[in-house]
Structure formats: C-alpha cells, structure tokens
Symmetry: C2
Subunit: 414 residues, 2 copies
C-alpha cells in the first residue's frame, strides 16, 4: 500500500493527516514531541494564564479514529530524496512513496550579538514553561533583594518584536505583574517597580494585521513602555542594548519574538530560499521531486507577489491542499495550485481589548476581543481542552486571577 510520511505534527501535518484519513494509503506522522501544540495561545502559558496541558493535545488521541493514520515519536534528522527514505534520531530509516514536510519554523536572531544565547523565546511548550518559570523566579528573587538597582533589573522585562506574539505577550505579562502578582507580593510595589518594555524596529505595531495605533495606545495605558523605531544592537546576560549603545536597559529577561526561520534539517538536499524556507511550486511540490510536498512556515510560496505569512491558517490550508494533491497524484489526476484564503488575523492585548481584521474589516476593542475568544476556542483541538481553556479564562476574567503561577520543572534549569 502507498506509504505517506508526514514530518511534523503542527497545524500543517495534522490537517494533512485529517484530509488523508480513510483514504487508500498508509499515513505515518513523525514528531519529536508526542503532542500537537496550539501555538497561538503559547504566550498565555508563558504568562501563567493557561496550563501547558491546555494547548497541547496528544497526537495519538487526535488520530485515534483514523485507521490508516499512525504516529511515531521520532525526531527526523535527514531525508534521502533519491532513496525516498527518512532518517530518524534513533537510527531508523523509513521509506516513503509520498513525503509531506511540515516541520515549521524556529527562532531567528538576524545575527544580533548575544540574542541566541540570552533570549527567552516563544516557539514551543518547553520554551513557554521556561519563560513562565523565569518570570516567577525573577519576582521571587526581587522580593528578597535589598539593592534597588538589582531589584529594578530583575523586574524589567524587555520584549523584542511588535508583531502579534510580542504585543499579546506584552499585554498578558503586564496584566500578570500588575494584578495577581502585585497581590501575591505584598513586600514589593510591582505597579511602580515592575516594567514591561516592548521594542519594535518599525514605526508601528502589528504590521500585516492593522490596528497598530489602537494596540499602542492600549498597551501604553496598561503601563507598557513601547519603543518604536528602535533597533536592538546587542543582548547580554544582564542588559539589552538599543540603537547601537544609545540606550542600555538593565534586564535579565530579554524575550525574543522578532524573527523566525524555517527549521533547519542537516541532511536535506533542497535549496533554502528566504528565511530558511524551501521553495515550492504552486502545487506545493518541490522542484524535481513530484512526490515531495512542503507546507506551512517551512514552505516558500508567493501569492499576488507576496510571500505567504507564517501563520496557522496558511499551514492548515496548505496541509489540507497538499494531502488532496497527493490523492490526485495517486489517482492519476492533475494537481491543483494552492491558493490561500485569508480569513483574517487578530491579536489580543488584554482584558476586553483586541484587534481583528476579518474579511477586510477592522475591529478593535471589546468586539474584537469577543471575536478573538470565539475563534480561538473554536479552533482549539479537542473538546475537553476547549472547556478547560474557557474555565481558566472565565476565572481570570471574573477574579483578576492567574491560576498557574507555579515554577514547575523545565529543561532550562537556572
């Protein structure tokens, strides 16, 4: 039977598997984690607002009803396009008839000195937990620190990048610091001592979504120090340097949300184009290999002269489309070009505040926030997770509380 290998259980891989369910082919998904991550809500894990379990769903429970879809917890280290095999970290070699590469993106630092070494990031559950632990530890350390300068450094958090992740995390982090943590730490005056700085190189926030002016005003009202037209020159263990030394902000908490690149794969003989992405034809096939497809953040494809953005919707639609093209190829039909339907974009800033761009219409404030809520709940994989997330949100909303302020073990040990 035809063997289809899917590399990665993100939005692209899982939506492709859904489209291949109960079709005449064996499908195997490989991922280095045993769960699918709902990345759009990762910033809430890092802001102690949601348990990590809420945004992670075991892949096996997603595919359980699909008889022809299997999963293996294996990290992919290479692809041999000639032999049509995939190599995994434990030394297994798996053969495929069709390959769908959906490995996504990782952080990219544009060569800024110290950024890779010292930054906290928001691209995986692991990173989200490490950041949550770090924030809570900083506040605990500040609580026993008598030196004012050191305390200020511990309580200064610098978020780099004014895109959706940066804006959302800036809002969530300032709410965490100024509301529940302020109540938790009577020995500190967090409303005056804690500071969230949001650094953006361009002259506005949320480029590509819109609503940047609203987001700016809202964040400023929430106490966030937003610095537009500002470049990060260097990141050190104890400070972030802006505009080539013009400003130095003492902090042990630089949070990088400013850039991503396609996940690197040591052994894969395909040329990388912009942002470490792999060029694909409009059918989502790579050049020269009709049985190899790339979707999501790892694929480079232009539409109307613009590169497709690295968002969940592109990966989901791309995954589904690549799966359908594989089935057409199997059936001897001609493949169809992929066309991304932009259903809109949105970012939440805090209580009752969001921006949304849906069908060309721009919403801000409470209406956008409710839209954001409904859409995120709708797309959260797993009925039970939806209930859990709603419960947490309702609790936070009603009681100005955060429920998950625990420093639990993570791989990044301080």
């Amino acid at each position: 039977m035809t063997q289809i290998l899917i590399l990665g259980a993100g939005f692209g891989g899982v939506w492709a598997a859904e489209a291949l369910a109960n079709q005449p082919a064996q499908v195997l998904i490989l991922d280095k984690n045993n769960y699918h991550t709902f990345l759009p809500l990762l910033y809430q894990v890092a802001a102690a607002e949601l348990e990590p379990e809420r945004i992670a769903q075991p892949v096996r429970s997603i595919i359980r009803q699909r008889n022809n879809v299997r999963f293996a917890l294996q990290e992919v280290v290479g692809v041999d396009l000639a032999a049509q095999t995939v190599q995994t970290a434990v030394g297994q070699t798996l053969a495929y008839d069709y390959l769908l590469i959906a490995l996504g993106s990782t952080n990219h630092y544009f060569g800024i000195p110290g950024a890779a070494e010292h930054s906290f990031t928001l691209k995986s559950v692991e990173e989200g937990i490490a950041l949550r632990n770090h924030i809570l530890r900083c506040v605990e350390k500040a609580a026993r620190e008598t030196d004012t300068a050191v305390r200020r450094q511990l309580l200064t958090f610098v978020i780099i990048g004014g895109g959706p992740t940066g804006v959302e995390y800036a809002g969530a982090l300032s709410e965490l610091l100024y509301q529940p943590l302020d109540k938790d730490f009577p020995e500190l005056d967090l409303r005056h001592e804690a500071k969230v700085v949001l650094v953006e190189a361009a002259d506005g926030l949320l480029r590509g979504i819109g609503g940047g002016d609203y987001a700016l005003q809202r964040l400023q009202r929430m106490g966030v120090d937003v610095r537009l037209n500002t470049q990060v020159s260097e990141i050190q263990a104890d400070a972030v340097t802006l505009n080539k030394g013009e400003t130095i902000i003492p902090t042990v908490s630089p949070i990088w949300t400013a850039g991503v690149q396609g996940v690197p794969l040591a052994q894969l003989d395909l040329p990388r184009v912009r942002g470490g992405r792999l060029a694909v034809r409009p059918t989502l096939q790579v050049e020269g290999h009709d049985n190899v497809f790339v979707v999501g953040d790892l694929a480079y494809l232009e539409q109307d002269g613009q590169m497709l953005p690295g968002v969940a919707q592109v990966a989901m639609q791309g995954g589904r489309h690549a799966a359908q093209n594989i089935l057409r190829h199997l059936a001897g039909q001609s493949l169809l070009p992929f066309r991304y339907k932009d259903k809109g974009a949105m970012a939440t800033i805090g209580r009752n505040a969001a921006v949304a761009n849906i069908g060309g219409r721009q919403f801000t404030g409470f209406v956008a926030w409710v839209l954001w809520l409904v859409i995120h709940i709708f797309f959260l994989i797993g009925f039970r997770n939806r209930i859990g997330v709603l419960t947490n949100w309702a609790w936070n909303y009603l009681f100005y509380e955060r429920v998950v302020r625990l420093i639990l073990p993570s791989k990044r040990v301080e």
Copy 2:
C-alpha cells in the same frame, strides 16, 4: 515583633501558618518550591490522570489574605540553634524567635544496591512528571521496537512497596496501560504485552490501613502481578532482582514506593532517631530548645507505644498544634501535649474500587471509592483546583480516558 520561621510549605507548614494567621507575630514560610503539593494525589500525575497544576497551589495565593504571613522561595541549608538563625542556599541568614521545622520526608532505599540510582519515585511534583514522561516514552519506544524481548522489557513496570502509594499507583498505571494507551497504540497489544508487577516484602498489602485482601484480589483482577513475601535484592538499569537472584525481571521502570526517611539537613545539630526523624517531646518541641518545634514526617513521636505514621493528617494536626503551642509560649501559658486523632485512612485501587478505614469501620469497593473521592476533593487546597480535579476525574470516569498523556519537559532528561 516576634518572628516565627516555618521551614517547608507542606501540610505541616501550611496548617501551622493558618493557625498563626492574624496573631501578634510575623510569620515567614520558606520552601524551595513556590507551591504547596497535595501529595496524596501525586500518583495520579504520574499516571497521566491529573495535570501537575491540579495538585500544586502557589503558597503566596494560599497566604494572600493573611497579613502577618509571608513567603520566600528559598532552600534551607542549615539551622544555627545557638544563634537562632537559618541559612539558605543563596547565602541569606534569617533570624527567628520561634522555629517550626516541617521539611517532611524523602525516599529511603535501605541500602539496596542500585535502588537510589535507577528507581523512579513519587515524592515530588518533579518526580511525578519525570515518571509520567518515562512511562509514555517507554510505550512509544516499544511501538517501534521489533525485538520481542526488548519490547517486553520496555512494557514491564515494577512497583516496589505495597503500601498506599504502591497500591494506588499499580491500579492507576494498569488502568492507563490497558485502557487509553491500548486505544492510542494500535500497533501494540498492550493488554497482553504490558505488565505491572507489584512487589511487597510482607505477606499482605496496605498494612496499617487494612483491606489488603480486597486490594490484592482487585489488583489481580485488573491484571497486576502482585508478589507478596518478596524482597528486592538489587536494582539495575535494565532489571530488578528479587529474593537474592531467585527471579530477575527485565525492566527499565523500577518505581520505588517502599521507604521514606526524614529530609536530611547538612547543618542541624539535633540527633536523628529512627528513619532519620528528629525526636520531639509531646509538646512537639525538641529537647533543649523550647523555641524549636518539629512536625510531620520529620518528627519522631510515639503515641500509645507506636510511632506516629507519615501521613498528611499527622502533619496537619501537628502543624496546627505546634502553632498553638507557640502562641501559648508567647503568652506565658504552659504548653499542651500533642495527641493525634486518627480520622482514618484510605487507598483507591481503580474504577469504583477503594478501601477505607474510618472510625474503626472498614469499607471496601464502591462505597469506599465514593468516600475517598469526597474526602480528597474536600481537602484539596483551593476551590478552583477542586473543580479542575473533579472535571478530570469525571471525564476519565465517563470516557475511560486520560487527558494528560503528554511528554512535557522535566528535569530528568533521557
């Protein structure tokens, strides 16, 4: 103002702090974690049944309403009884007028070779997560293993100790393997290939609680291989040796629940008696230091000729009593001897099955299970955690599901 230091935010420390709330003294709790752990349900974390967040409650949120009670995230490394100070891992020295030591217990291996190096354990949230990750990784590895002997080794789990923790975990683990994981892994036949072995040195389970015969039958019906009158002689990375070499069970999953000892503290000039405990007078004071109290698993006290058991109830009642004695001492009143009121003991074995001993009456089966449920929900700290735990349990009960089958980051990296 009088300064009371409480070492440890377990049951003893938290209940003592409650009793000292709004009294004329400053109270400071020290713990190396920022949360209180509801240890009686830790085995459910390790069985992928509850999220770790459900059994952990931030200490600061517990004491938030208590104006005279503070918390500091600090590990205690020593006590200077003469100077009346406590030393912490970050080099701080904290002075006290009264000291309440409630640091609890840690694992004890009775010198069995390899036990400390190779065993998984169930004494902290961290250990529970590490064990959960390990179990799930073993099954994932087995799914891609073609060698029958290796697969069998990966799917054999040996629990050492037939007390409440061992019995409860044996039941929960076999339910996890034979129900949700069996559905998750169509490539394995877990009902035949996976095996849970429970090893107990004595001739019965659940000594001190009763209901051992019922537990034995019930576990056997659930497929657990219970071995009574069996000694563990050695634990290796790949096997557990029983009865001096009579039996060798190939496994990479020895789970130690057989012994505990008082938490060691490098710099504390007090004699250790049985099980690494510190001897206390009936007033819970240590000999020679009227202002130093010890409660919980770390205290050695006999009642009616028997050492008080290492259970939550003893710690809670002891913590409250020590707090009241501190207040009496402050007020110049004579101190009262501690008397533990045994409210009963219980252990759950699985769906609809538990044993309970309440007020001298023995319950088994469904009635005991409902009692267990109600009492554990009642004692879970935090209203919101109660709801969350109930939701998880209801879901598991109705759908034979486990919701938390995620391999999330933990400090113990394989």
